[in-house]
Assembly symmetry: C2
Homo-oligomer: 307 residues x 2
């Protein structure tokens, strides 16, 4: 398939996810900003605020191309190429601290010596991860099982490999804690002796389609749970950690800001509010403590064991 | 003078600034955490919360030494050295949006082939900058004039050079805005044909001593100004930008987190709360708009002209 087909499919995925989320939310409506990138391409940023379940979120589509930014050439050790990138990025911050934050990104990337040349390289990348304010073991199991189901349809090694990659990627090194219960992460999925472009793309599509049912379930399962000031305060602290991850460690954010991406589209991932308290430590034995304690790599959330 | 004398002087500066701030605040009291660095040295982190004027802040002293972290060796293109660093770092977030946020750092750094060898290089670095939630031209003029007075006592080129350096350093590239009205910033101040270690140190001391009277004036001048929800909301947005700068751009924060510094001492600089609203734009003609519009490099705050 052509890159244009991929971009069209992603654009349709954005539409379906927004419609589905509006239905589940019941109140919030997405608004759309269409933007152009000076060097080529652009995107549609769709944001939602003050829904019944979603307090702030974005479902972004972009298709950008042109001369490859110097920073990226340096990173990839390439010279003088054109690039093409298209994808969907999602971050949703729920109003209730009992509902987890979710993130997904699926993207396609191409590099070629010139814009008319199709001899270049291409790859897919992406990931999805869940950040509960309070870890619910059954939700974590459900989330990982659903991702494993998608992965297993495409390759027996996908889930284990990409789950580990997510543990390493969604990690706040300076806190020695994971962002949440992880998920899957992958990059540079190209063709080789095992995969064609079509089979890689099939995986990306299935993952994209899995997003809405997974998060709908997690909203519906948790939105009616009661909470009070204590849970809201904890949510604000966890949102502070979310902001820390995105601003310090997230390579996508860093790359976007470094290469002149649209700041407001990139930073739509930030929480509506956040708090920082000097040296805050949850009291031993509390649900907050249990959550903090569960923010570790190498937990098998499906069978509940630590690897 | 010996490094030990410098460290002692910094430690005393921390004490005097904390005492002075408690007096001006009238309610808040600093609490102290003493910490050790596994590789050598440690520090005293003093934090204050919920004062009458200061909502959250820290005045930190540290004296760390040992084998130079690899990241720093890479940056400085050196091999196999020992380092010694001591300094005072301050960030104060006032509760009132009418009082500006302030930051100061003064530090001394030494690199030597071994810990017993005094033949190595040394330098001073630091800076001070002001981040008003609402720019007050008279306050900005006062702040810069006070800094210029300190600079002018030590070298006629200091103020202009270090003021420009601050404009470039305290800059949110992804927003194309400065963090506030700037101040002064400098690094690698060593000896040369114009300066001795003593004259450099004299400048650092005078700057350190200027902090308390400057910020005391700015608190006293503004703490009784009335404000409402509108000003508090704007403060939360400006605090979000402050968090963005510290987590994305601040080299000191990045370096500290990368090299295993004490996270809670480094991130004491973060605001107590922050908010992010997608694509927030202040309405033309409002005080918020005027402030946003004033967050630019190359403004001469003393005579009120743009350079």
């Amino acid at each position: 398939m052509e890159k244009k087909d991929i971009a069209n499919w992603f654009q349709n995925l954005q539409k379906e996810i927004c419609q589905g989320l509006e239905k589940v939310d019941g109140l919030g409506r997405f608004i759309e900003d269409i933007w152009k990138r000076p060097g080529g391409g652009g995107g549609k940023t769709r944001t939602i605020v003050n829904g019944a379940a979603i307090e702030k979120g974005g479902v972004n589509f972009s298709e950008v191309y042109g001369k490859t930014p110097q920073k990226l050439l340096d990173t990839l050790e390439l010279v003088n190429t054109n690039f093409y990138a298209t994808g969907v990025s999602i971050v949703l911050h729920p109003s209730s601290p009992m509902v987890p934050i979710i993130h997904m990104n699926v993207r396609y990337f191409e590099m070629s010596p010139s814009s008319s040349d199709n001899s270049g390289t291409w790859w897919f990348g992406g990931g999805i991860d869940l950040t509960p304010h309070y870890i619910d073991l059954e939700d974590a199991r459900f989330f990982h099982q659903e991702l494993k189901n998608v992965c297993d349809q495409h390759h027996p090694s996908y889930y284990n490999e990409f789950k580990k990659w997510a543990d390493d990627y969604f990690y706040l090194k300076h806190r020695e804690e994971t962002r949440g219960v992880g998920g899957i992460f992958f990059d540079r999925l190209a063709n080789n002796h095992e995969f064609t472009k079509e089979t890689r793309w099939g995986f990306i599509q299935d993952l994209g389609l899995a997003f809405l049912p997974i998060y709908s379930h997690l909203i519906l399962n948790n939105r009616n749970k009661s909470f009070g000031d204590r849970q809201k305060n904890w949510q604000l602290i966890r949102r502070g950690r979310y902001a820390e991850f995105n601003l310090i460690w997230d390579k996508g954010t860093k790359f976007g800001l470094d290469t002149g991406g649209r700041t407001e589209s990139i930073l739509m991932s930030l929480p509506p509010q956040a708090e920082w308290h000097y040296n805050h430590q949850p009291e031993a034995g509390t649900p907050e403590y249990q959550t903090q304690d569960g923010l570790r790599k190498n937990i098998n959330w499906i069978d509940g064991t630590s690897v």
